[in-house]
């Protein structure tokens, strides 16, 4: 295993463990206010300091990780669940009108950055974490559809697909039996990248108030709270910011590491 993969796994695991642990234990109740101890810098009691209401930042960070992970995870799920079948379908009808329609629809969604989708959804339903999930998820669909189609097209050119067709298999069967397993590597790597982008996007949406609403803690809103106080309590901005950076870096390193690890060419050299 490469250094990237180990470091990426390590960072991602910490975040997942912190989020999981928060269900049963946090150092303090993340919502309980303690005005006398407000804006404390990191110290022995509040390891990462307190916010303007004296709430423990470490606890909020752990609970906030849940929101980030949940939003990014479901959004990636939406992208894979809809994007991958669409991409496979388009590739199996290369050059046909179905391919054309799917790809044009993809281009169209790309014209709506996830923030714009979030704005539109908020305009109808109001702001919520679900809102963020849908906005990021919709944007993920064309990403996965494109990546799937691109890799699938090159697999369709291979002779073993012709052999399968000679064996009388239809395009749907070939797509799932031969194409999908051979594009899975690329999809796993893309999923880690989209996961990290999802974490960034969730933070941005909740920062501008289009994501998770209080009292649900989220990293983006912690930063929004920190903004006016940045000169007197910089740790309020630094701590969630670093949490985001380390999580995203961890996922990106994981993606890079997985790409190398799963690359069949490198794999053959190993065996």
């Amino acid at each position: 295993m490469s250094r990237n993969l180990i470091l990426g796994l390590f960072l991602s695991t910490i975040v997942v463990i912190a989020a999981g642990l928060s269900f049963v234990w946090t150092p303090f109740d993340h919502a309980s206010m303690n005005i006398p101890d407000k804006l404390q810098s990191p110290n022995a009691v509040n390891l990462l300091g307190t916010d303007q209401f004296g709430r423990d930042i470490l606890s909020a960070l752990m609970v906030g990780a849940r929101t980030s992970i949940a939003v990014a995870f479901v959004a990636v799920g939406i992208g894979i669940g809809l994007g991958v079948p669409l991409g496979l379908w388009a590739a199996s009808r290369k050059g046909g009108w179905i391919d054309e329609i799917i790809m044009r629809a993809n281009d169209l969604i790309f014209a709506f950055p996830s923030l714009v989708i979030a704005i539109l959804i908020t305009a109808i339903f109001g702001a919520s974490a679900v809102n963020a999930i849908i906005a990021i998820g919709i944007f993920n669909i064309p990403v996965f559809a494109r990546v799937t189609r691109g890799s699938a097209l090159s697999i369709w050119e291979r002779e073993f697909i012709l052999a399968a067709r000679v064996a009388g298999k239809g395009s749907a069967r070939i797509s799932f039996e031969h194409i999908l397993p051979n594009v899975a590597n690329v999809l796993i790597v893309q999923a880690t990248i989209q996961f990290s982008l999802g974490i960034l996007a969730e933070a941005a949406l909740s920062y501008v108030g289009l994501g998770a609403q209080p009292p649900t803690p989220s990293w983006g809103r912690m930063l929004a709270d920190a903004q006016t106080l940045v000169s007197i309590a910089p740790h309020m901005a630094l701590v969630p910011g670093c949490a985001i950076i380390l999580t995203v870096m961890g996922l990106n390193l994981l993606g890079d590491g997985l790409r190398d690890w799963l690359d069949p060419r490198l794999n053959e050299a190993r065996t």
């Binding site: 002779e159 052999a163 399968a164 000679v166 298999k169 397993p181 053959e268």
Partner: protein
């Protein structure tokens, strides 16, 4: 004075030694061919002279050009040498040219670089004319994608000779080309070498090409020169067993059994009747009607049970389209293709009853298997065609039996395709085709990607299987020598039509159609050797 001489050249990449103590000379005006199978180090020899080896390669030894050691030159001096004193031509004309620059720009770049002050455009035009691309027919503003493979290779040659180098290195310059184009390019290289008095270092795996044009031959194996000498001497008096093996494998004739007299040779198994297949060409302008390109043009033929039929033709002649139509993967616009009396194409839902009578073996031993499946699953894929596919013990027995029939062992069923060599993979492909005992097998360039020694063994295998299974097959190839050795009857295809057909030996020895004549004349043949 000797033009090029290498002394004790050793190259290693990482811990792997790719060239071992390689020493040879080239005189001005001389054509020296380096030959051998893949992995023999012949291309590495060429690249080490150019000092363009892959990064991380370690070189030891001397490379003297006109007496000066290139190994002692700085990178800047080497840049002076490349293109000016040594020109190089590569294997893949389709990718060797920059797709976003015009051919004129790419040729004149060599001239600007080494001959500042010269009228580069005039020299470019003259050089392109010399290689057969006169600017009045091939303007300098053409882009590579507007030229054919052979024409692109001419551009690459023009780039290499634009500054009048003393040494020309050609690395498999015709391997990617059709035989008639190959003959023209080889003639061009010979002519240029002769006119300019250059030395030509020619790298090729094709012994027939070597025998035809080289003054001297170096035979390499595993990074070593195993034998060298004047072409005629060496051919008449081969010493090293590897050289002998190479030559015999190149001329190998598989022993086809005679057709079993009891088979019914009257009713045709496959019958192709006036088949036509058109493709729409991209429209030339927005309002023009799309033109049609007729890939298969009124083709009719029969294959009877027990027949071994060859189909030869150059790339673009329509043989791939015809193959796909016969396999029932594509529809023909008019005419019928029938297997045992039933049409092979049955709309979107393939007719399994017809499909199960026919299987195919493809060219690429690397691309024809799903890398994620085990051999067992791979060769059972055609079971999908059977309504009563064997299961359990019967299935395992059939797998073992089929693997043994193609010269593999039953244990190989649990391995993945990447654990096999190219030749072994082609055996797996044959096993996959045979496992459901089809009545017709189509071999689509099935031995074209293999080294000669492996190719000879696969041809023997096919001949042996003919004996054991009474095979009927259609063998598609661009290589006349292979088709000659493995078929009873041959069809020659050109521009979508079958222009000539008949018993293989007769067609190749006494072709009557002009195209067949040119094809036979262009195919390099090894001289008959007295043993």
């Amino acid at each position: 004075m000797t033009l090029l001489s290498t002394r004790g050249l050793n190259v290693s990449i990482g811990r792997k030694s790719v060239l071992k103590n390689v020493s040879f000379d080239i005189e001005p005006g001389e054509i020296v061919a380096v030959t051998g199978e893949s992995g023999s180090g012949k291309s590495m020899t060429a690249l080490s002279v150019m000092d363009l080896l892959p990064e991380g390669a370690q070189t030891v030894g001397e490379i003297l050009l006109n007496g000066a050691d290139l190994r002692k030159q700085s990178e800047a001096q080497m840049c002076e040498t490349r293109g000016q004193s040594i020109g190089m031509v590569f294997q893949e004309p389709m990718t060797a040219l920059n797709p976003v620059k015009t051919i004129g720009d790419q040729v004149s770049e060599t001239i600007y670089l080494h001959r500042p002050g010269v009228d580069a455009e005039a020299v470019t035009a003259r050089t392109l004319s010399r290689v057969g691309l006169p600017p009045d027919r091939f303007p300098l503003t053409r882009y590579p994608h507007e030229l054919s493979g052979g024409q692109r290779q001419r551009v690459v040659i023009a780039m290499a000779i634009a500054c009048g180098p003393r040494l020309l290195i050609a690395d498999e310059p015709t391997t990617a080309l059709d035989v008639t184009t190959q003959a023209q390019i080889l003639d061009l290289l010979k002519r240029l070498t002769h006119e300019d008095g250059m030395g030509l270092l020619m790298i090729t795996h094709d012994l027939a090409v070597v025998a035809d044009m080289a003054d001297r031959i170096l035979v390499m194996r595993d990074g070593e020169i195993v034998e060298h000498g004047e072409t005629q001497d060496l051919l008449r008096n081969m010493q090293h067993p590897y050289t002998k093996m190479l030559f015999h494998a190149s001329m190998h004739q598989a022993k086809l059994p005679t057709i079993d007299p009891e088979t019914d040779t009257e009713t045709p198994l496959l019958s192709v009747n006036q088949a036509c297949r058109d493709y729409r060409l991209p429209r030339s302008s927005l309002f023009a009607r799309a033109k049609q390109f007729r890939a298969v043009d009124d083709v009719s033929f029969d294959i009877k049970r027990g027949e071994r039929v060859g189909l030869v033709g150059e790339s673009g002649c329509g043989k791939s389209t015809l193959t796909r139509a016969i396999l029932g993967l594509e529809k023909v616009q008019s005419g019928q293709i029938q297997l045992d009396g039933a049409p092979v194409f049955a709309g979107r839902r393939p007719n399994l009853a017809v499909r199960r009578k026919m299987q195919v073996v493809f060219q690429d031993p690397y691309g024809s298997f799903n890398p994620r499946h085990r051999v067992e699953r791979l060769i059972c894929e055609p079971f999908h065609l059977l309504s009563d596919a064997p299961t359990g013990n019967k299935r395992d027995e059939l797998i073992a039996e089929t693997l043994e029939a193609v010269g593999l062992s039953p244990e190989d069923a649990q391995k993945y395709p990447h654990q096999f060599s190219g030749g072994q993979r082609q055996r797996i492909a044959i096993a996959r085709a045979l496992i459901i005992r089809p009545e017709l097998v189509i071999f689509d360039e099935a031995v074209s990607a293999l080294d000669v020694s492996v190719r000879a063994r696969i041809l023997d295998l096919i001949a042996g299987l003919c004996r054991a299974y009474d095979l009927t097959y259609l063998f598609i190839s661009h290589d006349l020598n292979v088709v000659r050795s493995i078929t009873d009857r041959v069809m020659v295809m050109a521009a979508g039509k079958i222009v000539e057909s008949g018993p293989t030996a007769q067609v190749f020895d006494n072709p009557y159609h002009l195209y067949t004549k040119s094809l036979v004349a262009a195919s390099p043949m090894l001289p008959a050797l007295e043993s």
